[in-house]
Amino acid sequence: MHHDFLDRFGRLDSPVHRLPAALKLALALIFVFVTVALPLSAWEWFIGLLATLVAVAALSRIPWLFLLKRLLFLEPFVLGVAVLMLIQPNGGRVFATIFVRSTLCLLTMVLLSNTTPFAAILQVLRYVRVPALFVTTLALMYRYLFVLVDEAERMHRARASRTFAPKTFGNYAHRIHLWQMLGTVIGQLFVRSTERAERIYAAMLARGWR
């Protein structure tokens, strides 16, 4: 997996990208809070918010198709919960409210994460006095996230290609085998993570950490 497959547009050059990260984070916060607090009857506001977001998206030069794909990918998570609301009285209205609000919020967050590198967000967090230990944890997590996902996929593939299993999918024995295999892969991944953490600590010391 590529290290920046999700925030790969974070390093584009555009007026939006050049804004300070702290400002963008603050604006996104305000945007999300306003969207959530507005009643549905204030539909002119929602249109205004949407128009602003579309303008920002155009200025940011992020491909439209990418934005649309991200939204379509994320929308099921929202709708999955929202559908439950249709079975209550007045459900259609609640559903519409939730749908409009969460879609606008999603677009705001997708724009934020694709115009601001995660490292810049971390710097803002450090600046607003989020405890150093937590920021360090976030930074290390971001750095090793894709390394570990890659490692997990490699182990899973290697294991699947080396071991026998009944072929019919849905087969009881096959399913048990898959679960056991997954247990071993995740266990091995944890062991490797702790070993890697020890090596990282040695490397941090060697570079004069603390």
């Binding site: 999300v32 998570f77 609301m85 969460s102 971001y142 062991v191 953490a197 941090m204």
Partner: protein
């Protein structure tokens, strides 16, 4: 269980943000005091590990697939404070980078999955281990604790949705808890398999050395207070006839205005006004007890399957 933006009202979002900040603060304080310096990178790596493990899907019935949540697994492996920090980091990255879970709901998501889930998981794990020793106890405790942690986190989530007026408790509770009672079985099974695999690969990681990462008693009390307070605010108004704690807090803090907006959003049916509620409470409680007993029995069967008798006697 990631709540998106737009599902929580202001008072719930603020209350859970304050609670989760307090909880993560307690965990960070404990970690700074008790975590050896060489363990610091492990927090980040544990967070990355949870994230990577969540990406591995396993088949569940009917063509659907599930994935590990990991709160109990990390709590068992690294202790509650490290687990709360790691899970909170996972949720922050999921919110900012993957846009999974809303920004206004970040506090609620951290409260449910990083604080309640790790605390309940760790608490049940320690309790069961005290009574059942050896490797059998390890597997039994891990499986049952994972189930409990998943279900209690879902109850907390249902409470937040209901108290926000998004969904009446009579809908959110059965939907969330029913689904997560099933998801919890998968979580328990996979957690037990992972712990067993680690016991075979590097048993030393499961020893007391791993658990000494956290100072159990103080962390437990600190996180326990935060979790109990949150559950009292979000869930107790529905579970019994106690006064609505969160409304009171909202009124005293002065952001009651949102309650005026509420009728516009939804017409929640507070189930305690319905006739025959007494029997409904009893029925819910009974279902909960039966579900818990069944989960424990399943965990017990799992131990029987995974650890043959002769091996366990030699331990």
């Amino acid at each position: 269980m990631h709540i998106p933006d737009g599902f929580l009202d202001a008072k719930t979002a603020v209350a859970s943000a304050v609670l989760s900040a307090a909880g993560v603060g307690v965990a960070l304080r404990q970690a700074r005091k008790t975590l050896p310096a060489r363990r610091v990178p492990l927090l980040g790596l544990a967070a990355a590990f949870v994230f990577a493990a969540q990406m591995l899907n396993f088949p569940v019935a009917g063509g659907t697939s599930g994935h590990l949540i990991g709160a109990t697994l990390v709590a068992v492996l690294l202790g509650p404070s490290a687990a709360a920090i790691a899970l909170a980091a996972v949720l922050v990255v999921q919110c900012f980078l993957f846009n999974d879970g809303g920004l206004t709901a970040l506090g609620a998501n951290i409260f449910n999955m990083a604080i309640v889930a790790t605390l309940v998981g760790y608490g049940v794990y320690r309790l069961v281990r005290r009574f059942v020793p050896g490797q059998r106890g390890l597997i039994l405790a891990a499986a049952f604790a994972s189930w409990c942690s998943t279900v209690v986190a879902a109850i907390s989530c249902a409470g937040q949705l209901a108290i926000s007026g998004t969904m009446p408790w009579s809908v959110s509770f059965p939907a969330m808890v029913g689904v997560h009672m099933l998801i919890g079985i998968g979580e328990g099974l996979i957690t037990a398999l992972v712990i067993l695999a680690i016991a075979r690969l590097r048993a030393d990681l499961l020893g007391d050395a791993a658990l000494s990462v956290a100072a159990p008693v103080t962390t437990f009390v600190g996180l326990g207070l935060v979790a109990a307070l949150g559950l009292a605010l979000f869930v107790s108004p529905f579970a019994c006839k106690w006064p609505d704690g969160l409304e009171k807090v909202a009124a005293t803090l002065g952001f009651e205005y949102h309650a005026i907006e509420k009728p516009l959003l939804a017409a929640p049916i507070p189930d305690y006004t319905l006739p025959g509620i007494h029997s409904a409470v009893v029925a819910t409680a009974l279902a909960g007890v039966i579900g818990t007993v069944v989960a424990f029995a399943l965990a017990f069967v799992l131990v029987r399957v995974l650890i043959p008798r002769p091996t366990s006697e030699s331990h």
